[in-house]
Subunit: 149 residues, 2 copies
Amino acid sequence: MAESTDLHRALEGLRSRGLRLTRPRRLILERLSADGAHASAEALYESLRSRRHRLGRATVFRTLKLFARLGIATGEAPAAPRRRFEVAAGKTHHDHMTCLRCGAVLEFVSPAIERLQRAEARRRGFVMQGHALEITGLCRCCAAARSRP
Amino acid sequence: MAESTDLHRALEGLRSRGLRLTRPRRLILERLSADGAHASAEALYESLRSRRHRLGRATVFRTLKLFARLGIATGEAPAAPRRRFEVAAGKTHHDHMTCLRCGAVLEFVSPAIERLQRAEARRRGFVMQGHALEITGLCRCCAAARSRP
DNA sequence: TTGAATGCAAAAGATTTGCACCGTC
DNA sequence: GACGGTGCAAATCTTTTGCATTCAA
């Protein structure tokens, strides 16, 4: 039921753009719809490939990217392709705001947010060990620059 | 001043474990201490390497990993090495709790946290476009399993 | 039929590992 | 002097791209 709804929605999204609902796309969508999957491209590739049907790794990546672009699927894309480091000594925990235009990183702390996170975890019996919050967008300068002609 | 403090602290951390404060380690620590850097391994490698001094890419990665282990530096390590996707259709925005033991992903929504994030961004003139919050730790099952002998 | 989509293989990007040599303690 | 650390190159892992072929519309 949920699957067929997803499928119809996806079909619309594709057709309205002159794109096609192919076998690989249907398979990936079905697998992703099942059991609220949070799957990686590799996991999908492994589980969908079989002796009977061929499927390319590249197709899975291409399809996921397409789905993300169309809003059919989402994937937590990291703001930075590379892992970023910073000194920790003498610093307390903090979170980040990353500017997507200039790459600037602002640090911020919100005790209230920390508290709420802890509460949410506790409510679910989840033993919280760490957390990472990243807000993406435009820093003050870049926002100003963009709004200018 | 802050740099020499960091350096001393790091030296302690290293020595107490029988590790050495070498040239590459000092350089990386200094560069990381400067201007509140949020730098990638590649960026550090590029900026520290020169015709006068040789420096290996591997050393930078090894050193950062070591620093992270010793608490001298931190880097937002993603809970999953691979990007994970999920269907978006019909779903509203939500955040994740990832179990580091079994890999389970719990979705949760906290309007209060969302609100606070928006407020923090606004306060800094940051135009928020997106955000990702991931809480890592142990899910109920794994926490229970671990506390058993 | 025809252009979009696929599978494969090769490339690219990020990080890790093996190993002989080097430098800190 | 011993042993931890380094540089280099090769290996790994994840994702992307080029291209001839296939297939949905």
